[in-house]
Every structure is written in structure tokens, then in C-alpha cells.
Symmetry: C2
Subunit: 152 residues, 2 copies
Amino acid sequence: MGRNGLEQDWLSSTQQRLEGAGHRPSGPRSAVIELLARQTCCLTAREITDLLREDGRDVGTATVYRALELLHSLGAVQRLDTGERFARYEAADPSGEHHHHLLCARCGRVSQFEDERLERAIAGLADRLSYRVEGHDVVLRGTCPGCAEPIA
Amino acid sequence: MGRNGLEQDWLSSTQQRLEGAGHRPSGPRSAVIELLARQTCCLTAREITDLLREDGRDVGTATVYRALELLHSLGAVQRLDTGERFARYEAADPSGEHHHHLLCARCGRVSQFEDERLERAIAGLADRLSYRVEGHDVVLRGTCPGCAEPIA
DNA sequence: GTGAATGCAAACTCTTTGCATGACT
DNA sequence: AGTCATGCAAAGAGTTTGCATTCAC
């Protein structure tokens, strides 16, 4: 299944979940959800607002935050804190599949990766800790290929 | 080498590094450094200010932040963002040894762990990525033993 | 004496909340 | 009607900055 299929999955399952929880498919909120469905990686609240405006769909800041909070509480959106002073948000795969992030220290760009071995290490680790582990975030910091190029 | 030895190591190597960079061992900044040396885990800026006040060493908020920023830029302090709305800081082992953190979703308490297998997984991962990876943070979220106890 | 460091208060940024307006069932 | 949702503006919270004063060398 390609990316369009996944988009559709997330979009429709999220809309269903919202409806099931008694929420209405209003215009502004739908715009946020549809935008998130189209992304390949995380966005800040500001970026979401700006992208929607470029699309001619002005949505108030508070509405964006409220939509994100709602989606996060339903598990449809992952909130990501990379140590910048703002949060990033992205669609969370309903199947539980997930990836982690790479942050370029120079340009601030965020990209993503998956690693099965890392997931296994964390799962094994969770077993030996006295915490009940329910989730995890991994952020790698470094220099992206573009920024690492020789300055010459 | 026990904890006192490590404290001493960090304290003196940090003081040396500051002096080497042309900074003066002033009272307020030294108080911050000495406090950090005594900790076993990360503190927020607010906690640092409050603990110093309890010790009778009033240090202004701005000074605390400036000290932390300076120490961070020298690599002597690690800054940790757990997705709460504030950062946490802790002494960074000069040897490069490090640990990661567990955050209790209920009480907000932070504890730490080390895991060699996790470190190896990340090191292996870094090799196959096109990024030049310079650091990483891992945060596990869950419920701490205290909060997981039956309510009865 | 000179440059660094401090502390206060004001400024800033991201995020949340109060409240009146508007939309959907 | 009765909710839920929106948008603006104001409030909050953590962090940073401007600036005059104080401190260390």
C-alpha cells in the first residue's frame, strides 16, 4: 500500500474516531486533519496555521491548538518535543507503527527514520525496568547531509 | 570510584573549563555549579533557583539561565526536554558516559537508566543514516512504581 | 580601571483560556 | 433549542534581554 493509501487510512480512521467521540466534522478542524494527512513529517502549530492560510483556509491559532490537543488525546496525533521551544505534531499511524526523528543542529530540519533493532532494544529494556513503560521518544541530533557539505 | 569522586571530577573539570574560556568563578555561578554537582538527576531552572534560596544563596532567575546556557555551550550540562513546558538540566559526564530518562505520566517524576544494548542499537543506526549523528536523547514515558500501585 | 557577571524588570514566544458569536443536529 | 466549534483577544508560563550596578582581576 502506498502513501496515498496510508493517508486515506489515517484520514478516515481519524474522522471516524472523532465522530464516534461525539465531535463534529467542522470546516476548520477538517482542514487541520486533511493537512496533517498530507504530510510526510511533523509540523509546528505555526506551520500548520501558515500552510492553511496559503491554501486560503484561515484558521485561528486557538482552533489549531484545540484540534491538535483533541487529536492527541484520541491518539491520532503524536506530539514531538525536540528541545526547540515549540512542539511538533504529526499523524500517528493507527496500527501503532511509528518512527523517530533526526534533528539537524544547523538548519533545524527534521527528518525521520525507523529501526527495528532500536525498537527491540527499547522493548527489552522496558521489561527490566520497574516502570510500566507506555511509550518512548528517540531524537537523534546531528548534521544533515545538506549542512555537512564542504563550504567550498 | 564513588559518586563523590564523580562529583569532584565534574566540578573541577567544569571550573577548569570555565576558567580556560575566560570566565570568572563568581559566587552566584559557582553556587549553580556546585548545586548541579550534588544532584543525582536533572533539575528545572525553577528548582535550581528554589534550592539555592533554601541554602540561603539567592540567585536571580536570569543568572541561573545564563549559567545554564554557558555550561551547556561548553558541554558541561545536558539540557533535557521531556515535553513538559520547561527544560531540565543536569551535569554531563565529561567522559561521555550518559544515561537516559523515564518520565512518569502521572506524577511527573523523572528517573534515569542506562542500557548498553540501546546505545549499541543507536550507534549501529547512526552508521546507516546519511546524517552525521552527534548526540541522542531517549525518553521513555510510563507509570512509575509508586503511581502504579493499586488505589485500594 | 576595565570587562565580566549580576539582578531586576520588561520583553518575547509559544500555548491556553474566557467569552461572545456562529454552526450543526 | 441545545451543543459543539470558532475566533479574537487576553492571560499564562517559561525563558531571554536591556540596562544600570557590582564584582573580580
